[in-house]
């Protein structure tokens, strides 16, 4: 264990006195700490971002989530279901042992099978069989064509073959936290810090920082205060309330990237009589959300610009589809629905509901940036449309179980509710499959389709996309399917938040769309 606290203390004092500190250390304030040091235990952003320092996947995702060679130097498809990967030569683990195909085999065995793992990596490995050709060549066969193969590989941290039998505890203690990454594990004090030191023999060259300390500071204003007071060099997840102030502070620099997370409304489409929708007199009415005109009216009555400017304080961009249109597979024809209250009222009248209806809308509280406020703002806007709206923010701990299985017969409970979805694969196909393809337990489609939206035509196109390995052709199909769904108002997209980092003035950060905070993306003038 490395305990160079005195250095940290000296640094703090030096900063207070304005003396330039050792350029090699960096202290980063994160909003949430990892739940474990086991790279295969919990597929969660706070964990994954720490793991990226110590461990590396075969394929890297750059700041825009474009795929780059990682521990695999190159790859090609042999046929529609077979991939061949060439591994990088000369890569060494932190303990000095050589990296090779056997390590990948061990990783593929362990990753889906960590005991008590609450959210493992099994879904990325399922249906893939891996075989070693030689020490630096691998073949992966998939049961069906798998166009997202490389995105999946980019999620899995490669461990050393020596550590196959190690438990989660061994990783937490640091005993097994041995990877190939640019930083070596030094110390993990739960609740206080994760410390990593430079891996001088990293294959890509010496990393910039001598020591990286990640400190969890969950409370937003405190995290900002710690940056302002000089206790931290960089903070992630800059609260929207403080973004403008930090931007205008000459002692600081901020960096933003559009997130791959869409904040949207899901609509109940599987019930004739939706539990949270009633006539204004309290009578039972036919679920109005099954009427396209009503859905369009709801979308038009949402003032996305106001939400972006007023609630997100400019730290977001109105959304038109599953991911921002800078990504492949997005439609260039879809634009955010413009605010048009009169048009919305007319649509509602055309749908035979000129007086509106009574509705309770739901959303999580504290899961997404400003979620409760966005929900309330939507409530305001729809009440101006003439609906009788009640707003209910549910603690995240209960929201998702209720939204997924809380209703009668284990069906989704809510009628109209706010959720977010982050495209971990960096493209819209996976989002479309999870959110809007017809719910099918066996096929695994519509896993997060909590409104049970179903559009057979879109299903058909997207299914075809899933069998198309050729990227250009696939992207065209995905865009076509997306247009069908969005024009049918299968979901009501609201906005994409910005991921914002703030740092002392002389630091530079390459902001990432996947929300990961990586010391590798940071440098100092």
């Amino acid at each position: 264990m490395l305990r160079s606290h005195i250095a940290g203390a000296a640094l703090a004092t030096a900063l207070l006195l304005g003396v330039p500190a050792q350029a090699q250390d960096i202290r980063i304030g994160v909003a949430a700490e990892p739940t474990s040091m086991d790279p295969h235990f919990h597929n969660l952003t706070p964990n994954n971002q720490v793991m990226r320092h110590i461990f590396e996947p075969l394929v890297f995702q750059d700041e825009k989530q474009a795929l780059k060679p990682g521990l695999a130097e190159s790859w090609k498809t042999v046929d529609d279901t077979t991939w061949e990967l060439k591994l990088r030569a000369g890569v060494k683990f932190h303990d000095g042992s050589d990296f090779g195909a056997d390590d990948v085999l061990v990783t593929f065995k362990r990753a889906p099978d960590v005991p008590k793992s609450p959210a493992g990596f099994g879904s990325y490995i399922k249906g893939k069989t891996i075989e070693k050709v030689d020490d630096l060549t691998l073949r992966i066969k998939t049961a069906a064509p798998e166009p997202l193969m490389l995105s999946h590989l980019a999620q899995i941290s490669i461990i050393s073959r020596k550590n196959e039998a190690m438990t989660t505890e061994d990783y937490n203690s640091g005993k097994a936290a041995v990877g190939t990454g640019p930083f070596k594990f030094a110390e993990f004090v739960a609740g206080d810090r994760v410390v990593m030191v430079r891996n001088d023999s990293h294959w890509a060259g010496k990393p910039t920082w001598g020591k990286v300390t990640m400190r969890p500071v969950k409370s937003d204003p405190t995290r900002v205060a710690a940056l302002l007071s000089g206790d931290l060099d960089v903070i992630e997840n800059v609260p929207t309330a403080d973004a403008q102030r930090l931007k205008s502070d000459s002692r600081l620099a901020t960096f933003s990237a559009l997130s791959n997370r869409v904040i949207y409304f899901h609509l109940d489409r599987h019930r004739e009589d939706s539990p949270f929708i009633k006539g204004k007199d309290g009578s039972t009415i036919k679920n109005p959300l099954n009427d396209l005109k009503v859905r369009q009216a709801l979308s038009k009555a949402l003032n996305r610009t106001a939400i972006v400017e007023r609630i997100m304080e400019g730290e977001a961009q109105p959304a038109a589809q599953f991911v921002p249109d800078s990504y492949g597979g997005t439609s260039k024809n879809l634009k955010p629905v413009a605010y048009d209250l009169d048009g919305a009222k007319k649509l509602l009248a055309d749908a035979g509901l000129p007086n509106g209806f009574k509705i309770t809308i739901h959303g999580p509280n504290g899961r997404y940036t400003n979620d409760a406020k966005i929900l309330e703002a939507a409530g305001q806007m729809w009440s101006r449309l003439g609906l009788d709206v009640s707003v209910e923010s549910v603690p995240a701990a209960n929201f998702f179980s209720r939204a997924t299985t809380g209703g009668a017969n284990g069906m989704p409970e809510f009628s109209l509710f706010l959720v977010g979805w982050s495209a971990g694969t960096g493209e819209p196909l996976d989002s479309a499959r999870a959110l809007t393809m017809t719910f099918d337990r066996a096929k695994g489609t519509g896993a997060a389709n909590r409104g049970r939206y179903s559009n057979p035509k879109a299903d058909e196109i997207l299914t075809k996309a899933f069998q198309t390995v050729d990227e250009a052709k696939r992207n065209a199909l995905v865009a076509e399917g997306t247009e069908l769904i969005i024009n049918d108002v299968g979901i009501i997209p609201i906005h994409f938040p910005l991921n914002t980092w703030a740092a002392k003035k002389d630091y530079t950060i390459i902001p990432r769309s996947d929300e990961y905070t990586l010391a590798m993306s940071m440098s100092r003038k």
Partner: protein, 301 residues
């Protein structure tokens, strides 16, 4: 203690009058009482003078959000204390929020007092095993910090006004039980109870008509302190994210919501509700302090 002097006063003054006189000797306490009554009146009358009903979504406009004190709202009124992150007028929200905070404080206090007093009386009157059992339970409850109990209870019950009240009741009842039992034990041994028993009055009658009224003084002291405590605890729970719902904010929720604007210079969102909470609690505590002094016989001069 100067017993003769006290006796002399008692001859000319009813206990209530003496109490009023002693209470009003402390001007600060009287001031506290006046402020508190004013706050209650303002809170109750909020719908009649507040420019905005902050709970009516169609009256709250996002375009009014985060305005500094004194800004004009789109509806034409002036937001004297500014507005919060979704366009609620802070001035209106404070007085509407006070209604909820006071209601939560009063309701939990009332229920807890009723429950605690009944249990305490039973313990004192019944004695024996019943008493031991009840007092063990009271000790247990008192040994667990209120914030922890409330936190766990809310984790068990979930969010909502009724659940917060329930949690606060469960946190508070033991204080009343202990106080009432203590006084009731003293009363029980007095002659008039003995006399009432000899007259063959029913247990309930003796308990509630004779013993209880004589135990009320310390209960009132506990009640003032506990009400203030309940209001503050609700605010803390709301800050921790397990309190009341966002859309109908109590003072605590208002402060907690404003908390995230503390570093960004929009001080009014959290500061004014904070001040309102502070004034309310200080007023109650001033009254409580004086009550304790007046009703504590050992300090009588």
């Amino acid at each position: 203690m100067s017993a003769p002097a006290v006796a002399a006063f008692v001859e000319v003054e009813t206990p209530l009058r003496r109490f009023v006189r002693q209470f009003s000797e402390d001007r600060v306490a009287v001031f506290g009482l006046v402020v508190f009554l004013l706050i209650v009146a303002l809170a109750l009358a909020a719908p009649f003078y507040a420019p905005q009903n902050p709970y009516d979504l169609s009256r709250v406009d996002l375009m009014d959000s985060r305005q500094p004190p004194g800004a004009k709202a789109l509806d034409g009124y002036t937001m004297w204390l500014g507005s919060d992150g979704v366009g609620r007028d802070i001035f209106s929200a404070i007085f509407y929020g006070l209604r909820i905070s006071l209601a939560v404080g009063a309701a939990s206090c009332l229920i807890a007092a009723t429950l605690g007093m009944t249990v305490g009386l039973i313990a004192a009157y019944a004695g024996g095993r019943t008493e031991t059992l009840i007092m063990r339970l009271v000790d247990l409850q008192l040994s667990l910090p209120s914030v922890l109990v409330a936190l766990i209870l809310v984790a068990m019950f979930g969010k909502g006004v009724d659940k917060i009240i329930l949690a606060l009741v469960l946190v508070q009842w033991a204080y009343y039980a202990r106080t009432v039992r203590g006084s009731a034990l003293v009363e029980r041994s007095k002659d008039y109870v003995e006399a009432a028993r000899c007259l063959g009055l029913s247990h309930t009658r003796i308990l509630f008509r004779h013993i209880l009224p004589n135990c009320l003084a310390p209960v009132i002291v506990v009640a003032t302190v506990q009400t203030a405590h309940a209001i503050s605890l609700e605010a803390t729970l709301s800050f921790l994210g397990v309190g009341l719902p966002q859309t109908e904010p109590s003072l605590g929720v208002l402060i907690a919501n404003g908390f995230q604007y503390m570093m960004s210079g929009k001080f009014w969102i959290s500061t004014f509700p904070g001040l309102a909470l502070l004034i309310t609690i200080v007023a109650i505590n001033l009254v409580g302090d004086r009550l304790r002094d007046v009703l504590n016989p050992r300090l009588e001069k």
